[in-house]
Symmetry: C2
Subunit: 316 residues, 2 copies
């Protein structure tokens, strides 16, 4: 069974940690959001790509959701100290963005490959192999793509500025994407030829939309021959993690499985909702062909594997 | 007493660790060789600048001569592992060049400042202040300058390739400098207005020549009103550290204090030789005005301070 996953950050990464336990990784392609990518201290960081890679490699810090376990912070601490004393401005300093030593090695290597002229998908593939990840991991695009948030008080914030630096506190009025991005090699094909296309429980607006925004992706998803499945990131009226609930409300979406299903209308066939939202199934079914109701909470890779097995059994 | 030092690597750095103990650091300017600078894993490394800074900041690893004490290597180890698995070529990998975590923070910050458009002297000054170094530390030039070694078998090697990677083993036939370098702001003035210009016991060909090669430096040194002093890096017929003896022999210089004095002819007034070379004083004096004979071996910062005091007393 060929599976293609459209992945964002931690919710997607957790699901993937389970998915590779119940499927053949060589049949799996993960297309990852890069709207969050940024230069941090001169390095090209791809936060969603790395979160996905670390979870697939079994190196993830499950609770925290980013970085690796057993991480040290020697460079971060020293850099912050030096940069502050060297009179770097707060903007230059970016000390709110934590990069552990192992994480820094990943980003140094990625930046080095990019600076040597390799594309982001080539660099990602090299890192994937280096980390011993067997499935394909492809950035949605090799082109610059920026997720930008417009605040209620009229400012524009880059994703990391909003998400990490401002702790998702500013009131958001709109989200848009900057950059004319074309799908990276293999992306459209991976969607078009998949038996199952899976959208994990990630933020529909901030994590999944930027992937759908890439030229060719939405079209491929509309005409795919396989089954398209999404898992609701809204459970019990709240986002499992992160600001998906507040962002959805701010943009006029209903904060419920039905609200998410409506965002994905025409793009999915099956919608997976948590058992505590069983009563929402009828509302969801006005926008999708079918609902699967099960325990969707992933407290561990084993939980994630169980969820994936349930979902695949239901669509297989 | 205003002192300007033309500094190379470890021999210079050790002398400077002593000099700041016996003089007013605010009267001291250190002009540093940057012919060894290179991009390593995408970062701009300035090995002589950093060795000098770490010694001036009291962070040096005295025995090893580079890096800082209490250093960790988390990023270096992880990077080497990932890069090898990612199929980086040996040339890309550069794992023979060790950068500890704290050292990496220095180089990340330098690179970030350079990439943001600051000059090397601006970046060096910011790092100097960040490390709490009170004297001025200025790269000889802000322009690209490359020390290149021509081997007996006809190859050209960059300095780090020769010095670190090939462990100074190749037989050298010539040394030249690539790049049209002009003195960085303040360099010519610091030499011209100094009461004492000091050339520490560093490699005359590989560490001092590239400083002298920068347009304006040799001329300033020829016309300086102060006293020009050099300390011999050759003691008892051998280099104190590094390949200065073999390089001098290969280039046709006599490996002795007199041989070094001849390299510096017209550029220095006083030459300091070790007490074990006392018999060489007459030969040296055919090329310089005066010889100072004393213990020049620096086993510790205290030794270095004693040497500096002797030298300054002799010329003051």
């Amino acid at each position: 069974m060929r599976i293609t996953v459209l992945a964002g950050g931690v919710g997607s990464a957790r699901l993937l940690a389970g998915l590779v336990r119940v499927t053949d990784p060589t049949e799996l392609t993960v297309v990852v959001n890069v709207g969050d990518d940024e230069r941090m201290r001169g390095l090209h960081v791809s936060p969603d790509v790395d979160t996905v890679l670390y979870h697939l490699a079994g190196l993830e810090d499950w609770e925290r959701g980013w970085g690796t376990t057993g991480e040290s912070y020697a460079v971060q601490e020293r850099y912050a100290e030096l940069a502050a004393k060297a009179g770097q401005t707060a903007t230059d300093l970016q000390d709110w963005f934590t990069l552990g030593d192992r994480d820094l090695a990943t980003n140094l290597l990625r930046t080095r490959m990019l600076d040597a002229g390799r594309t982001l998908s080539e660099a990602t593939d090299a890192l994937r192999r280096a980390l011993g990840v067997e499935c394909l991991v492809v950035p949605a695009t090799d082109d610059p793509l920026r997720t930008v948030l417009r605040t209620a008080d009229g400012h524009e914030l880059d994703f990391q500025e909003y998400f990490v630096h401002r702790r998702q506190e500013p009131e958001i009025e709109g989200v848009f994407f900057r950059g004319d991005a074309t799908a990276a090699p293999g992306v459209v094909d991976a969607i078009a030829t998949a038996d199952v296309v899976l959208i994990p429980p990630s933020n529909p607006v901030l994590s999944v939309e930027p992937v759908l925004h890439v030229a060719g992706v939405r079209e491929a998803l509309r005409t795919v021959r396989g089954t398209r499945v999404a898992v609701s990131p809204i459970v019990g009226g709240r986002a499992l993690k992160g600001p998906a609930d507040r962002i959805m409300r701010a943009l006029g979406h209903e904060v419920s499985p039905a609200g998410v299903a409506r965002v994905y209308r025409d793009l999915i066939d099956v919608f997976v909702i948590d058992e505590q939202d069983a009563l929402h199934a009828p509302a969801v079914e006005s926008d999708v062909l079918r609902t699967v109701v099960c325990d969707t909470i992933m407290r561990s890779p084993e939980d994630a594997a169980r969820l994936c097995k349930t979902v695949l059994d239901a669509v297989g």
